[in-house]
Symmetry: C2
Subunit: 415 residues, 2 copies
């Protein structure tokens, strides 16, 4: 069994050096990491083939195998993503403003790394390089625990990143890998309170649930998105169709895809047939409530569980509501606080929706698919937070930092 | 046993109304709460007398009784603190800036309430009105669970605040009280994941520890301060004496008081006798390491546990170090990440200390006693966070909020 205490102690050492590393040195090392990945394409493909062979042996679905599969292009993209992180603004050391208080103390809030970040994640190997590069640029040591499916790929990727650091005479402990994919070791990592400043789980709903229940270290919950599109009675039909089709079908397996369509009863009779036609053309099955069923030809009757499922598939729940209030109530009761959208031409409906829906990202007249760090302009993201503390929505470099107050005095004592 | 589920459901309703309440109305209600407290001074004193009688019966120490005791002045101050909160800037609704992304989406990050805040706290009744007013102003419903010592005082105070809301035709569920001080109910509150957005424990180290171990709701750890003053070899003697005396003795029972003095070996022989004299005059006992003991007349030998104790008393641990590195290492190993100070005239030592010490507040040439929301200019605070996620250091109104992304589109779908 992996000695997590040892990894933790090494990570603390790595973190201390990294916290003080100049931006230029961090960027140079990131560029060297990207080169290292590119130069070792063949070895990475070989390691990945081991994972794919194992997946075939274990009868893993083709969809899952595709998530796992690396190609020369995908490896090139991984390296390019690291280069992008090198190009991002470094948040560390920033002091937005300082003020002098009435005692004459000069007080500032300085942005500093969190320290040691733990990541528990599933299948896709590119999460390894994404998380490592973001943690590194934000001055944090990282302990990576990937899924067993991508074990060989992940392990080699971390070795290459560590080799880059060692070659440059820098401690390799800034980026470490848990070479044990047992549930026991994962559980131990979740309780590594003396070493981890935060644990970020990234994966399916069951992983997130397990981490929430078992972790004693601070966590940032990411990902699950039971997202709604509400078509208001003042919506334009063409826009409504485009947005719902895009939100459901452009990439059904991701967390910012739509899972439920709510539609106002006044327009349902006219809108639902057009919406159904467009969705069916894209291979979507509809699970509709009894009222919506009247206007749909291909739908099956939804049951109460449909309102809470993140299908991540070509399935959409459909429900008729009689008012904006009913739509907002339904969303706030069933959503996972990720991304929600209204389609409307009513100013007041748009404002009420923005104000009253509780979610990380609330849209008017746009697809929920835009909730993404690169779309928002953060360059890259380590995940999308669905919790309210610390960070909410796409988490870029800034969300991997904390602050400390620095106070300059000249002998002040308190009355 | 209190029905916490019911309190939780009511709090959610209260939170929804409060989140949308205009600032002017919140401020008016806060001013009315302050009036209500002032008008009911006699009833509050009576309720407090019940708590004091019980404390006498239970042989509670005079120090603890003093923390518990309300006087006409203290009640007046409680009301004045509520008025101060009314005068603070309302963080809710602020959007620092909006940007248009390459898809033409207008994206902003809007400050919104957390939702429902739980508070578990000990003894001092003024925490009730402080926490209630800060939560209210920041648009959050609050569920207050005070200690059994102040039960009657706390209960009446919450009744008065609720009466103010009811009189104004507003839901009283914004401020609720758990009228059951059992550990079982506290433990249930710590696991009220469907209703609490955050739980803030405020009290002694054992309370914080219990909450950390038992809570499944997100928590913000507050308070414990094992704080150090490091006297560098380039320090001025008079400033060093003033700062250490102030940090230790101006209010030993609070979390920003100093608990350990670290002193450079080069100056220890000359500085320690003067420092000892000043501290002994203030009634402080010293627990010193073997080397420091040589220069001290009244000290006893410290053991390893002394470096980790938050005495909250007229006791100070003293240790000689041979370098700034040794001081920083000792602090980072033993501190609780609260407040740390260096006394020095060396520019490079001051910068290294600020950069390398890991704490919420790091001081050069000032007493640690300044770590406080009002000193920092936040008007009031609900506690001092010693964790790294979400908030660090004194938490004012802003730290009781989160954000949501609001996105204005005109039909955008994602490629």
């Amino acid at each position: 069994m992996t000695d997590l205490i040892q990894l933790g102690e090494q990570a603390k050492k790595g973190a201390r050096g990294l916290a003080l590393m100049p931006t230029k040195q961090k960027n140079d090392l990131l560029l060297q990491m990207a080169q290292m990945i590119k130069r070792n394409q063949l070895a990475i493909l070989e390691a990945n083939q081991k994972d794919l062979d194992q997946a075939t042996e274990n009868n893993i679905s083709e969809t899952m195998q595709d998530r796992l599969r690396l190609t020369p292009e995908r490896i090139h993209t991984m390296a390019e993503e690291i280069i992008k992180v090198a190009q991002l603004d470094d948040p560390i050391g920033k002091v937005d403003h300082m003020w002098q208080n009435e005692d004459g103390l000069l007080i500032g809030k300085k942005r500093v790394p969190l320290g040691v970040i733990g990541m528990i994640y599933e299948s896709r190997p590119n999460v390894t390089t994404d998380a490592a590069s973001l943690a590194f640029k934000s001055g944090n040591a990282v302990i990576l625990r990937g899924g067993k499916e991508a074990f060989h790929s992940n392990q080699l990727l971390v070795e290459l990143l560590q080799e880059t650091l060692t070659n440059a005479g820098v401690s390799p402990y800034a980026i470490q890998f848990v070479d044990d994919t047992s549930h026991e070791t994962a559980a131990e990592l979740m309780r590594l309170t003396d070493y981890l400043d935060v644990l970020i789980p990234r994966g399916g709903a069951s992983l997130i649930k397990r981490v929430k229940e078992q972790a004693t270290v601070p966590i940032i919950e990411t990902g699950t998105g039971n997202n709604h599109i509400y078509i208001d009675k003042e919506a334009q039909l063409a826009m409504a169709v485009d947005i719902i089709v895009n939100a459901k079908t452009s990439r059904p397996s991701v967390c910012n895809a739509a899972e439920t369509l709510l539609i106002h009863s006044e327009i349902a009779p006219f809108f639902l047939p057009s919406i159904e036609q467009a969705l069916v053309e894209h291979g979507v099955s509809l699970h509709a409530d009894a009222r919506a069923l009247d206007y749909l030809e291909t739908a099956t009757l939804a049951d109460e569980t449909d309102w809470d499922i993140e299908y991540l598939d070509y399935i959409l729940a459909v429900k008729i509501v009689d008012s904006l209030d009913e739509a907002i109530d339904h969303i706030n009761q069933h959503n996972t606080k990720h991304s929600e959208a209204i389609v409307t031409d009513s100013y007041s409906a748009s404002q009420r929706f923005l104000n009253e829906v509780d979610a990380a990202a609330v849209y008017v007249n746009a697809s929920t698919r835009f909730t993404d760090g690169s779309v928002f302009g953060f360059g890259a993201e380590i995940g999308i937070s669905t919790q309210k503390l610390h960070a909410r929505g796409p988490m870029g470099l800034n969300e991997l930092t904390t602050t400390k107050y620095i106070i300059y005095g000249d002998g002040q004592i308190r009355e």
